[in-house]
């Protein structure tokens, strides 16, 4: 008996879930019950149909989006046939009389040139075809004609001409929005490229100076440091791919710290605690090294004694949690907030805000840096890196054992 009950539960649960989902998908906001006058109802219906056509058009004018929206637009105009064209082809034909495609494209050359609406009669040999008139309304984006909306009807009607013109203007607005969307995407891509971290000129200068100081006294050490420097610069100057793996980023940090240690000697100590599970995580290229650089700077700034930096990376299921902590001078939280908000330009480097921006660009606003600090209390920077994010793939070299 209990087995039966449990089996029933197992069977009913997915059904309930599916029903809930279907219900939410199909629930129509137009079920206003008995509210409103018939006119209000009609207005609402029209707006609702228009809003249904909008999402497809927001992706631009292609065959697929035209097909999806043509049906809605035809019910909006109430005609027998409606077609959407670009400047050379019919993209979608909804309704009867699809054999008029070629004829309509011939008649379209005029309106597409001038950008003016037109109505013209159709000639048809088919006995059962009722379409006698076509109303053309061009679709324009930034004063350039992109295509046309053609509504076909059995007789000439001034109302239809006006209505088709209005619908075409509304479609044009949607297409303009699509254009805006595209430019915004391009802008974000350009921003990511521009934000791509660069190593600071100070660092190059300081490293070379340190290496130079070893050349006479300890040539072997100088050689090693030069190799570290070469490795680090090769990593940071590479041009392919915007993403790397945590393992490669840690190697770069290692080279970086070797150079820093050569400069500061015993004053700097580092502990690492890395869960091996998160080493393959892909992350934006050079997004942890600036944090370490920042920690070194804060840790050694304005004090003569030792500084300790700890770097931990933990596995938290679907995310990796990276924490970089120093016991240095810390910072006034308000100042930090203003630096991150872009109100004050920081004294040296653009490390933290750059990393924060890039993480938000790639993973979304939930994944910005979390920074805990106070004057004299050190600084703790936490970054959450999802193990999987669409479009994030490391293109780095493969670390071989």
């Amino acid at each position: 008996m209990s087995g039966f009950v449990a089996g029933l539960c197992v069977a009913v649960l997915p059904l309930l879930a599916a029903g809930f989902w279907l219900g939410r998908r199909t629930a129509r906001p137009e079920s206003l019950g008995g509210l409103g006058t018939p006119v209000e109802h009609a207005t609402f219906q029209t707006l609702h149909t228009a809003s249904l056509a909008a999402p497809a058009l927001r992706a631009g004018l292609t065959e697929e989006t035209a097909r999806k929206s043509a049906r809605r637009l035809r019910s909006l105009l109430g005609t027998d046939a409606l077609c959407l064209t670009d400047d050379t082809h019919v993209l979608a034909w909804d309704g009867v009389g699809a054999h008029h495609r070629a004829e309509i494209m011939e008649c379209l050359t005029g309106p597409l040139e001038t950008g003016r609406g037109e109505a013209f009669p159709l000639t048809c040999d088919a006995p059962d075809c009722t379409l006698r008139w076509a109303v053309v309304a061009p679709l324009t984006v930034d004063d350039r004609v992109h295509g046309a909306l053609v509504a076909c009807a059995p007789r000439e009607s001034a109302v239809l001409v006006r209505a088709a013109g209005e619908v075409a203007r509304w479609v044009s607005v949607q297409l303009e929005l699509a254009d805006l969307d595209q430019s915004r995407t391009r802008l974000i891509e350009a921003e990511i490229k521009a934000l791509r971290a660069q190593i600071s000129p100070h660092f190059i200068f300081n490293s070379l100076a340190v290496i130079a100081s070893f050349v006479r006294t300890d040539p072997e050490r100088a050689r090693e440091l030069l190799l570290e420097f070469a490795d680090f610069t090769r990593y940071s100057f590479r041009r392919h791919g915007d993403f790397t793996t945590l393992a490669d980023e840690l190697h770069a940090i290692d080279h970086y710290l070797a150079l820093v240690r050569a400069r500061f000697g015993d004053r700097l100590s580092v502990t690492l605690q890395i869960a091996p599970e998160v080493l393959p995580v892909a992350l934006p290229f050079l997004c942890l090294q600036p944090l370490v650089e920042n920690a070194v700077k804060h840790g050694l700034e304005g004090k003569a004694d030792k500084c300790h930096i700890s770097i931990t990376a933990q596995d938290t299921g679907a995310e990796a949690l990276v924490v970089i902590e120093d016991d240095g001078a810390g910072m006034d939280p308000d100042l930090l907030r203003r630096i991150l908000a872009g109100e004050v330009s920081p004294s040296g480097g653009i490390g933290l805000s750059n990393v924060d921006d890039r993480l938000r660009q790639v993973y979304g606003d939930d994944y910005g840096l979390v920074i805990e600090t106070a004057v004299g209390a050190g600084m703790k920077v936490t970054a959450r890196l999802p193990k999987y994010q669409p479009g994030v793939h490391s293109a780095g070299r493969v670390t071989r054992e």
Binding site: S2, A6, G7, E64, R238, A247, L272, D315, G396
Partner: protein, 570 residues
């Protein structure tokens, strides 16, 4: 078997798991040496972790129980559980790793760029995870009952609470080490007692009639019947009874039962003489248990065997807790090497449970009567060796069994909770993951209290069937067929996985009872897997315009080794 050592052994395993989980990272990786700290998990360690997570209660207890009841036919179970990794190795391992996906929904999204398919895959991950968790909790309940006489539900609740606490507290920080530790623990817990048992068997004159039909009692044996059952006799049987048989009460009376079916009421004690063949038993109808599906297997053994083979061979690749472990491999080649090592480790492990099953047929044949066949592994050390040594070995086995519940349950809970937190529950954040954990464990816990009696290995088989009919088509076609479309994938998963799921539900609800239809529903893989593949392929072919835009680039990434890709890009 109420041994004083078992409870400390179980407690020790739980504590050791928590400690390794919490501090393994600290011990192993606190260093300022970058080379040591950023060393990736090698194939062997990762393989031990995957094996540790994979070897569940079904492997540890269930297989021995099935071999005990059904004989050598059941060796298909370990073969299937192992061979699943061969299919995984050949078709899936390296491309899956290269896809960069952490979970199966991630893979669906990476391949098909569709949120809807992602959510559907998430739903199936939760379904398969719950189906797989259920037998883990039941197994824990059974183990604790056998060891201490505690009520059925207590073991399940202990495992549920421990696992939820560990996972929710984020205690599995070094999960690879924990799971690798669990593998070696489980292997030791079966291997060491097995050696002693085989020695004892040798000392007993090495009787070789383990698989004689029917099994016979080797010495006088008292059997207490806990649940009312029907005894089916082919030949007359002489037995000493105290209790109720066929509605009449007896008190220590010798009874000659003629051939036919006899009803034994609960709490009856039967004393069998040495050499008596063990009668077949059916749990009586209305006795609170679903009839063992094993009984019906006898009706169509060939069909059931093929169903089992298909489910286990193709289902392994879709197990949510197995897939996430492959992410730890640094690249595709390492993922393949890991899979080869897993094959070796699991293959080695699976040599042991059949030994217990065979010895169980010799030394504890009455377990087929009481329905506790899954407990054979736990009972044998005490039965065959006895004394303090037997108790200690029994405690070791018990500890290993709990390790099996803990490792598999924690891996599954993490996988299910991850999906619940990411794709189902609304907001995000750490506390949110904890809510997901509780939900992930609560559902199977409630179900395990409600559903009794489904044999552990069978219940796991159902989870495999659902996984094989939903995720196997998605993974195989997703990796090897460029014309797969989102609607095709969704339809294939819904039809294949959904029908397998309904079949599972019908089986659990004991719907058709018996006959060919029951067999079809009890072993759905043989029809639901082709159905899933066919639907996915046909719907994909019917919607050619929906092939995702970047398919060629995505498939190139799946199949090109990482070095080649890096060179091409450079």
């Amino acid at each position: 078997m109420y041994s004083g050592y078992a409870v400390p052994a179980v407690a020790l395993v739980v504590v050791a798991t928590v400690l390794v989980g919490a501090f393994g990272l600290r011990i192993s990786r606190t260093t300022s040496d970058f080379y040591v700290a950023s060393r990736t998990v090698g194939p062997r360690l990762n393989a031990a972790a995957i094996s540790g997570e994979y070897l569940s209660a079904a492997s540890f207890l269930g297989i021995a129980g099935l071999v005990l009841v059904q004989g050598p036919d059941m060796l298909w179970y370990p073969v299937g559980y192992t061979a699943g990794y061969l299919v995984l190795l050949v078709f899936v391992a390296a491309p899956l790793r290269r896809s960069g996906a952490y979970t199966l929904p991630d893979f669906a999204e990476a391949r098909l760029a569709s949120q809807a398919v992602r959510r559907l895959a998430g739903a199936f991950v939760v379904g398969v995870g719950w189906l797989y968790l259920l037998p883990q909790l039941q197994g824990a309940g059974l183990t604790l009952t056998v060891l201490t006489g505690a009520p059925d539900w207590l073991g399940g609740i202990i495992v549920a609470v421990v696992v939820t606490a560990i996972v929710a507290a984020g205690g599995m920080r070094s999960i690879t080490f924990v799971q690798a530790f669990q593998y070696w623990l489980k292997l030791t817990a079966l291997l060491v007692p097995a050696l002693f048992l085989v020695l004892a068997w040798q000392g007993d004159g090495a009787p070789r009639n383990a698989f004689d039909e029917p099994a016979a009692f080797r010495e006088q044996r008292v059997v207490r019947v806990d649940d009312t059952l029907d005894l089916k006799l082919d030949k007359p049987l002489t037995v000493t009874v105290s209790g109720t048989v066929d509605g009449r009460a007896y008190e220590e009376q010798r009874l000659d039962l003629p051939a036919g079916t006899h009803r034994i009421e609960q709490s009856t004690r039967l004393t069998f003489d040495k050499g008596t063949p063990v009668p077949r038993a059916d749990p009586a109808s209305g006795g609170g248990m679903s009839p063992s599906r094993a009984e019906n297997r006898a009706e169509r053994p060939l069909y059931a065997t093929y169903g089992l083979i298909l489910a286990t061979f193709l289902g392994t690749m879709g197990l949510p807790h197995v897939v996430v472990r492959f992410y730890t491999s640094p690249h595709g080649v390492a993922a393949r090497r890991t899979t080869v090592a897993v094959l070796a480790l699991i293959g080695g492990f699976y040599l042991l449970p059949p030994v217990y099953g065979a010895l169980g047929r010799l030394y504890a044949p009455e377990l087929t009567l009481t329905g506790d066949a899954d407990a054979a592994v736990l009972l044998l050390p005490e039965r065959m060796i006895g004394g303090v040594g037997g108790d200690l070995l029994g405690a070791l086995v018990a500890g290993g069994a709990f390790a099996a519940f803990l490792s598999t349950a924690s891996g599954l809970t993490m996988a299910v909770a991850g999906v619940l937190a990411q794709d189902v529950l609304p907001a995000r954040g750490v506390r949110h993951f904890r809510r997901g954990t509780v939900l992930a464990m609560a559902a199977p816990l409630v179900a395990s209290v409600l559903v009794g009696g489904l044999p552990v290995a069978d219940a796991v088989g159902l989870a495999f069937a659902v996984s094989a009919s939903s995720f196997c088509p998605l993974l195989v076609l997703g990796i090897w067929w460029r014309r797969l479309t989102p609607p095709g994938a969704a339809a294939g998963m819904l039809v294949g996985g959904g029908s397998a799921f309904l079949a599972v539900a019908a089986t659990m609800a004991d719907f058709p009872g018996a006959g060919p239809l029951h067999a079809l529903l009890a072993w759905p893989a043989l029809w639901s897997v082709p159905l899933g593949f066919l639907t996915m392929a046909l719907v994909s072919l019917a919607t050619p315009s929906r092939v995702p835009a970047g398919t060629a680039a995505i498939l190139a990434r799946f199949h090109l080794p990482e070095e080649v890709r890096a060179e091409v890009k450079a």
